[in-house]
Amino acid sequence: MRFFGRTMLAAAALAALSLNARPAAAVDLTMYYPVAVGGPVTKIIDDMVARFEKENADIKVTAVYAGNYTDTMTKAMTAMKGGQPPQLSVLLSTDVFTLMDENAIVPMDGLVADKAWFKEFYPAFMANGQIDGKTWSIPFQRSTIVLYWNKDAFKEAGLDPEKAPATWDEMVEMGKKLVKKDASGNTTRWGVEIPTTGYGYWMLQALAIENGQKLMNEAGNEVYLTAPKTIGALDYWTDLSRKHAVMPTGSIDWATLRTDFLEGKTAMMWHTTGNLTAVKDGAKFNFGVAMLPAKERRGSPTGGGSFYVFKNASPEQQKAAVKLIQWMTAPERAAEWSIKTGYVAVSPAAYKTPTMEAYTKGFPAATVARDQLEHAVPELSVHENGRIYKFVNDAVQAAVTGTQKPSEALAAAQQQADRVLRAYK
């Protein structure tokens, strides 16, 4: 008993000491963030956060890796309902409607002294987060979809290694030449792979944009999945495997596709620019990065994650959160982040920093995703986003696995989406 009492006393004393050791006005922040690409992303984040803490001794940041985008959103929402939300998080830029509907976030407008800050970012990235004249999010790990191609494979197939396909038809033609089979007729290299798991809706949106079709309205309460051009987009996608045999049948995994490309199992892949540095570090061959091929026009949805500040945070925490966001998105850090991952640096100023200028000079592929912004369209963003994504992803998977015809699969998804979105009209 005596021993127990003493231990308690010692523990209490220690606790008191450690509390006293803290700076007087310490603010604690918890931040959730997702990882959706290859490379040591958690290490990069931890390092940046540590440097921020060093410069701002009165702010303590706990950065929590919370899985992919869906997992992170799930964790944040569950934590909020449990009464302990994070103070800020990196979440899909498209989660904004859901976060607003849940009354989870505060707009940034009241938190910054100088609203000129909002104008520093690329407008295409700000578009997702600006609703009803307020700014709800600040872009961070933003991307567009790009086409990676294996120059060595192009050369081997007798194609110009410096020229990526510029149109849908060209991609099929080149793909056919790039397919390689072994003696027993099994394919050892595919022409192209477009991932179908995880972010199938994103890839479908890219194809639809190129086909001249938007997938949603600006109010976020309507989707256009049964428009003939959307169906045409999914038709083209499934034809790549079923008709032209330049892409494997069945679903193609988002997370392992990068490995497929690096192992030479596919000569081209569509993937986020966020994977660029991981591909650069892993490729044992020459590769190129190009804008996505065009049908009626070029195009890609923007994508990726933005910073949100949560409503439950105290005013001091909200202020500290904005400080952290401003630090993380400042031109030097945006350039560093872009170089270390491949994500598009969020402001034009970042590309004018000496580090970034030197980097892009030696590695021009790093600017493709940014240049594609001029053809970009905001990512599919509606109310009940998680649900709508599931319906579209299911439809994409049903079509690529041959369970349903594209038109049937999309009709089913549209019907389910209409039912869910009815409440928001």
Binding site: K81, I252, D394, T401
Partner: protein
């Protein structure tokens, strides 16, 4: 101080203890169990049933909607898909894993060299963390690089997208779960086999009964309580699978591997629709209660307990 008051009446030095004191004592001893049972079983069940008749708005207010959630559930193709999948999943896993468990138990119950090693090998899948299991099997099933496809490659066969094809994904999950569960159930059979009196087997041998006859008429009937226990567990487990789905398939492709509990998880936490999740949970509740009713109401009476 309280423990003195509680134990005092049963102490032999106080013969004046009253019967009611004994009763209070008993209830007090039961209290912790009751509190836990009510807090974590009965109250949540009632709350879930109540919640399934309401709709939670995004702003947190509740609206009574009657059976509307049940109607939209009946019209929800993913729910039906999950239910049918669950049926096939149970049918695929339960009989096979129980049969395998029994065979393995009989095998490692014999006196032979390497018995300890064999027991360990059979039991290992059970002690591995679920997530580790899922990752191991993810490696087996990965197209082209995975173990299965490397084996196929040795025979000149092309890679197969095991988890990416709706026709094979369920089979893949079933095989994995059998691998994981059979070893667990084996432990119960092994314990039961070692409880059996060797006299019976010897008597049968004296009577000249064949080994198969002995197993069929003596061993297997005596193992019935264990079989029942294992079977109930297997049924419950077949409705409990979530972890593996999160790692391996996320219920895809196109819901081909969605099971009921995974769908509930998705609706509750990914879509934050607790009312609809409650409705789905009621269905799960009814299914599992039916299993319990069959066990206590019917099977228990037909089984011989020693």
């Amino acid at each position: 101080m309280t423990d003195q008051a509680v134990t005092a009446p049963v102490a032999p030095r106080r013969p004046r203890s009253h019967a009611w004191w004994n009763a209070v004592n008993a209830w007090l001893l039961l209290l912790p169990a009751f509190v836990l049972l009510i807090a974590f079983t009965h109250y949540p069940i009632l709350a879930t049933i109540r919640h399934s008749f309401f709709l939670t708005r995004r702003n947190g207010t509740e609206v009574f909607v009657g059976s509307e959630s049940y109607q939209s559930m009946a019209a929800d193709p993913i729910f039906w898909k999950a239910l049918v999948n669950n049926f096939w999943f149970a049918l695929g896993t339960i009989p096979t894993s129980i049969t395998l468990a029994l065979l393995m138990a009989i095998w490692v119950n014999r006196n032979m060299r390497g018995r300890g090693f064999l027991r360990l090998a059979f039991f290992t899948p059970t002690v591995l963390p679920m997530i580790a299991v899922a990752n191991i099997w993810l490696f087996f099933y990965t197209p082209d690089y995975g173990l299965l496809d490397q084996l196929r490659g040795a025979f000149g066969l092309a890679g197969w997208n095991w988890l990416g094809d709706p026709s094979t994904v369920m089979g893949c999950l079933i095989v994995m779960v059998i691998w994981k569960e059979a070893g667990f159930f084996m432990i119960f059979y092994l314990a039961a086999l070692q409880q059996l009196s060797p006299d019976l087997e010897e008597a049968a041998a004296v009577e000249g009964a064949s080994r198969w006859y002995t197993f069929r008429r003596i061993t297997f009937p005596l193992l019935m309580p264990t079989t029942l226990f294992v079977a109930i567990n297997a049924v419950i487990n077949s409705f409990k699978l979530v972890d593996h789905l999160v790692i391996m398939t996320k219920g895809g492709p196109n819901n081909a591997s969605t099971l009921l509990l995974y769908y509930i998880y998705e609706v509750a936490f990914t879509f934050q629709d607790s009312a609809y999740a409650a409705t789905l949970t009621v269905v799960l509740l009814i299914l599992l209660s039916t299993v319990a009713l069959i066990k206590f109401g019917y099977l228990d009476r037909r089984i011989h307990y020693q």
